[in-house]
């Protein structure tokens, strides 16, 4: 090893292979059977359970946990997948601390919720490891639907449409399907190539073809509408908010999402990272860029957020996770200028300071690009004519994997109702 965390500038190979492997290993490995049984035993099987209401896909959580407790994790998995076909990914990436587990009656009573996310993973992994796809397609309906974007929203929609017997073509502009599951989520949350394995498993339903193609350049919405009975847009947020301060276009300044996308696809030791890294922003993307910089071997990583701690969109759990990884978080400071050596910030009260930085990541929010249909605020309307939209690109809900899955599924149900003539 010639490089180390102390090596100045932007450098690859700061850590040994072993350290790198340990850093990017599965952050919350699957429960073994004993752990699952103990965790499942804590569920009270609440009536009209708060966890179920808090889940954007309304998984029947008490039922699936009872199915685990009675030794039928495969049945538990079916309960999960019936509501959320990406229950496997959601079990890994959902911020459960702000969703189901936050409202668990045992969290309220004892400060220790039933570990719903990890139980969900135990169940879904059990079934998926057996290679079982628990759904069969209805007889072909003869209807054709185009889905744009093979992220969680698009794939969830495609799966539900295929289930109903429709013929689905998914157009994706990136080389691999999966959307941010493949190119965004922190590597240690989706270890062992889970995103790709999940897509392969999901496609076993049949009736779904993924084709390369970018809406706007290769294909037009008008053509899709002409060729299909319905169109679903799950294109996510393609753009990033611009940082308009001096030095923002210097070569050591990068979009956090691009850095993360590269990290997810490359051999991690080969990925260069700064010795002193500064991340500007306060969301999940900022946390992931900061933490993963640290895991790649950066010596100091500082996340600077312009507002107060409670306004930060990354949850308290995520913030703790970052600080535990060695990231320093500074609240209430806005960037003023970037130089090749560092970033100057100013507190709301006017005091300024400079952080040395070999590398700067911008994580100040993503935006919708290419809005081809009616908008609802800054995002797409969920439906306009025969075009539906869901996930990050569409109005309503938080920008989370699980929300994308829910909106994709619900759009598919609406499309199905229209195609079979139940509603207009």
């Amino acid at each position: 090893m010639t490089q180390s965390p102390m090596t100045p500038g932007i450098a690859a190979n700061r850590l040994s292979q072993a350290e790198m492997a340990a850093n990017f290993a599965d952050i919350a490995p699957r429960f073994d059977r004993h752990e699952a049984m103990v965790a499942a035993d804590r569920c009270y099987f609440c009536h009209d359970a708060p966890c179920m209401t808090a889940c954007p896909t309304s998984i029947d959580i008490p039922l699936f946990i009872r199915q685990i407790a009675t030794g039928t994790p495969e049945a538990a998995a079916k309960t999960i997948f019936a509501q959320n076909i990406m229950g496997g990914m959601c079990a890994r990436v959902c911020p459960t601390e702000t969703l189901c587990e936050e409202v668990c009656v045992r969290e309220v009573a004892e400060g220790k919720p039933v570990e719903i996310g990890r139980l969900q993973r135990f169940a879904t992994d059990t079934l998926m490891d057996k290679g079982i796809h628990p759904f069969t397609r209805a007889a072909p309906s003869g209807k054709r639907v185009a889905v744009v974007g093979a992220g969680p929203a698009g794939l969830s929609c495609a799966h539900r449409l295929a289930l109903h017997g429709h013929e689905v073509t998914v157009f994706e502009r990136r080389p691999k399907p999966g959307g941010l599951n493949e190119y965004g989520i922190a590597a240690y949350k989706s270890a062992d190539d889970f995103a790709a394995r999940e897509v392969d498993w999901l496609l076993k339903i049949g009736g779904i073809t993924i084709r390369p193609g970018a809406l706007g350049s290769d294909i037009s919405l008008a053509a899709l509408e002409a060729d299909h009975d319905a169109v679903f847009l799950g294109i996510g947020l393609g753009g990033v908010n611009a940082l308009t301060i001096p030095g923002a276009d210097l070569p050591h300044v990068r979009n956090a999402v691009d850095f993360i996308a590269e990290l997810r696809q490359c051999d991690k030791s080969a990925l260069p990272v700064g010795r002193d890294v500064v991340v500007i922003g306060g969301g999940m993307t900022a946390v992931d860029a900061a933490v993963q910089s640290k895991l790649l071997g950066a010596q100091t990583v500082t996340m600077v957020y312009r507002r107060t701690k409670d306004k930060m969109s990354a949850s308290l759990y995520e913030q703790d996770h970052a600080t535990a990884a060695g990231v320093k978080i500074i609240y209430g400071a806005a960037p003023k200028a970037i130089t090749p050596a560092g970033v100057e910030f100013a507190y709301e009260t006017g005091e300024t300071f400079v952080l040395p930085a070999d590398q700067v990541f911008k994580a100040i929010g993503q935006t919708l690009t290419l809005p081809p249909i009616a908008k609802d605020g800054a995002k797409l309307a969920r439906r306009s004519g025969k075009v539906w939209a869901g996930g990050d690109c569409a109005a309503g809900g938080e920008d989370l994997t699980v929300t994308a899955v829910a909106q994709g599924r619900d759009a598919a149900e609406e499309i199905n109702a229209v195609l079979v003539g139940a509603v207009g």
Binding site: R33, H34, M37, D41, R42, F45, H47, P62, L63, R66, Q67, T70, G71, T72, E74, A75, K78, T79
Partner: protein, 431 residues
Amino acid sequence: MANLTSNFIGIKSPNPFWLASAPPTDKAYNVERAYEAGWGGVVWKTLGSEGPPIVNVSGPRYGAIWGADRRLLGLNNIELITDRPLQVNLDEIKMVKRKWRDRALVISLMVPCDEESWKDILARIEDTEADGVELNFGCPHGMAERGMGSAVGQVPEYIEMVTRWVKQYSRMPCIVKLTPNITSILPPAVAANRGGADAVSLINTIKSITNVDLDAFSPFPMIDGKGSHGGYCGPAVKPIALNMVAEIARHRETRGLPISGIGGVTTWRDAAEFMALGAGNVQVCTAAMTYGFKIVQEMISGLSEYLDAKDMALSDLIGRAVPNFVEWQDLNLNYVTKARIDPDLCISCGRCFAACEDTSHQAIAMSPDRVFTVKDEECVACNLCVDVCPVEQCITMVELPKGSVDPRTGRTVGDYANWTTHPNNPAVAAE
């Protein structure tokens, strides 16, 4: 998804999970919600004769015992049969049955032990179009003192007599519900069979006191400073019920008599166990009262997964374990096992050590760094360590192969041989 359709003495239901006659089946509101939740059938809360309805206490009717984390393990009640007017029940039954043709609806009955009373009630329920009747010879409190319920169920002659009346005055399939408050379940079951019962169901509740209030010095549930015995049910009674079901299933005179298994059924696994020991279907009360009607979904998915995994039809399961339910003297005395502790699963709590060292055969060794191992030369294979270990599958029983030497006895493991031929058996020595 396995086909769970059930045909119990000609009564069809989409699955073999019925609600037992009790508060969950007390009225149309409950029963319809139960059907919506997926229950295959119900036995309506026991009806009595025409006349002023019976009266329940207005203080607590339940006592309970709990396991860890306050899990309800046993429930005791002093509730009587329905306290609603007969005609209200009959009207509701008729309405519900018409609406839910595919579900089973059986009426539970308990009237005084004379021919006229039974003739009269059977005539009155005829018009409801219910699928069958269940004779409640089981309730151990309140009604027994009035010469009904378990007071009938404890006298085989009465059981036979009443069953005959019912078969004489009604075309409906007749299930006789037995009380466990007897020394042997066989005479009551035989009596029901002789009386012409189409099936028996068991168990009803067991006479019990769950606890005593140590300030008021009264059994609980306490009504104004006093308590009376109640009827015990829930997971705690399952072993008693399973044994009684199995005894009837294998007894020469009652073999083949359809059985509806009741007592502590809480999960699909409990239901499958009852069925393997001869029950054609199961009835549930306490589990529904503890967790709500929705638990049937777990029973349905679990039983279906199990049957699919075993590639069995529901009918293949019923009675499948009965031939293996034998007397002690038929057990193989040359079957030798030893406990094995999996060091990877062991969490070093030491409970197996305490149990074996203090109360069994001093067959577990403990190292200074808390590694636990079984001493084969001491282990009698009692299974206590397995039962007290908090980690499932951590301690297992491993069979010694035939021909190997048991280090405890120094004897070679031989072929099947039981007590009837054992040299220590005085009966054998006498020959």
